[in-house]
């Protein structure tokens, strides 16, 4: 057990949670609904990559060709060439998964949630649960109930200050930080980003400014779903097998992270996600409490909500004049 190892593990787990939590929190902030199907978008992202990598005929052939070429043209070792090819295909399939998830998020919003705009929150929540089951069942029908592996390549290990650290952890960490900074700048600095803030605050006033609220809501679902696809890649990169309900647990935990940070708050989702990553990682390293790491996460949620009901960075509802 090493401090650096713990830090990097915490931050990369936390970064993944933050990616998912951002989807929950942005949709909540802007559409004022809990998208319970958000976790399942991760699953769809993962299966999209499975299809791209394992199921399309000729990808294996094409892969072998590329690997051969690398060996012949660049003089790489066969093993290295194969690994690079797998990584490249993984990244291409990630891009496809991002697009597929964005489209799926927008379609779900349009078909399932938009007709319920203005309906009771309970009706929307139940619809979201319905969408969640629909996606999980569809995946089970298409891909079967068994766990499957999706190789996205071996990123190797690095030595950092004398400690061996898996590169995928560092990649996860760096990519999540870049995404979080990018998203923050997007919201703060662009015209569309400011429109998102305006819509989350007051839809009526936003419309008076000429903001197309429906378009902003659609965009929010698209961004959240793209981040879910990224989270799916972070799961595959750890070489974890995928199943049709793989999105459920990370979904609930990331939702917890979003609530800890203050649901509706973008920086809150980031802080909450990282905090959850730290708690989980530290808990795993202490043998006595390791088996209860999930329970501990929820315990922290309860404690934080008792002390600060709106979450760490959540806003108190201001009284309207």
């Amino acid at each position: 057990m090493n401090i650096l190892d713990i830090i990097i593990n915490s931050l990369s787990t936390g970064g993944t949670y933050a990616m998912i939590a951002l989807g929950y929190t942005m949709v909540y902030g802007i559409a004022k609904m809990l998208n319970f199907a958000h976790g399942d978008i991760i699953m769809v992202g993962a299966y999209t990559m499975l299809v791209c990598i394992n199921r399309i005929p000729y990808t294996t052939k094409l892969g072998n060709m590329v690997a051969d070429m690398l060996v012949k043209q660049c003089g790489l070792e066969e093993k290295v060439a194969a690994n690079i090819t797998v990584i490249a295909f993984g990244i291409i399939s990630l891009i496809i998964a991002v697009i597929v998830c964005m489209l799926l998020g927008m379609i779900v919003e349009k078909l399932a949630y938009k007709p319920l705009r203005g309906a009771s929150p309970l009706a929307v929540l139940i619809t979201a649960i319905g969408v969640s089951y629909l996606l999980q069942s569809a995946a089970q029908i298409i891909f079967g109930p068994n766990q499957q592996n999706v190789p996205v390549g071996d990123f190797g290990k690095s030595k950092l200050f004398g400690v061996e650290i898996s590169n995928y952890l560092i990649i996860t960490l760096v990519v999540s930080v870049v995404v979080m900074v990018g998203l923050t700048l997007f919201i703060k600095l662009t015209r569309t980003g400011r429109a998102m803030v305006a819509v989350s605050e007051d839809k009526g006033a936003a419309q008076l400014m000429g903001i197309n609220v429906n378009a902003i809501i659609t965009l929010t679902f698209a961004i959240g779903s793209a981040l879910a696809a990224l989270a799916a890649y972070f799961t595959l990169i750890k070489n974890v097998g995928i199943t049709n309900n793989m999105g459920a647990m990370p979904g609930i935990k990331a939702f917890t992270a979003a609530v800890i940070g203050g649901i509706g708050s973008v920086p809150g989702a980031m802080v909450g996600g990282i905090l959850l990553g730290v708690i989980e990682t530290v808990a795993t390293k202490i043998p006595v409490i390791a088996p209860y790491k999930d329970a501990i996460s929820f315990l922290v949620l309860v404690i934080i909500l008792l002390v600060k009901p709106s979450g760490l960075l959540g806003k108190k509802r201001r009284e309207k004049v």
């Binding site: 429109a195 605050e201 400014m209 004049v321």
Partner: protein, 236 residues
Amino acid sequence: MALLEVKDLEVNYGVIRALKGINFHVNKGEIVTLIGANGAGKTTTMQSVIGLIPIKSGHVVYNDQDITKTPCHKLVNLGMSQVPEGRRIFQELTVYENLMMGAYSIKKNDTFKDDIEMVYKRFPRLEERKSQIASTLSGGEQQMLAMGRALMSHPDILLLDEPSMGLSPLLVTEIFDIIQEINKEGTTILLVEQNAKKALSIADRAYVLETGSIVLEGDAKEMMNNDDIKKAYLGE
């Protein structure tokens, strides 16, 4: 010529009939005021005209164009702007960012700098506080911001819903002076007010709304001398 014309406008909230078929118009260059007691339907009128509340029946015509079914966010580009009841500025954004939101509808904005200067000139307090978070502004400053924000889109008609709400008498006078200035510079004004005296004093024409119906209309100055109006709305 009528810039805005409302014909037989009916609006319901569930079973409540908030507007029972009202007719009014605002001519180009005028200040027209809509006065009435609490719950008469003034805000409902303003919000349904600009598309924030669905209309049950009737028509809204703006610049010879039927906008009854036009979504609210498209009306800014046609030259309509509203300062809603309760101001509804964006609390989390700064003063400057709020003004930017006001200019949201203008995609390629070459005049943004001049526009914001124009707003600062009209409301010097806003320039002093341009980087302040809007939620920390005083009520009067918030009203100025709401008006400045609405002006950023170069409206041809400005709809003002109770701009005097919660302001000190001195500030009310200031705001009403500014409304007159804006009007003199060519913006048509539809003004909803509880403060009937003030509203009538700057308006060209007025309509009196009572539980969803227009019961009286006419020249604003004449209305100020109408005994019924004096009793019911001017507290004399």
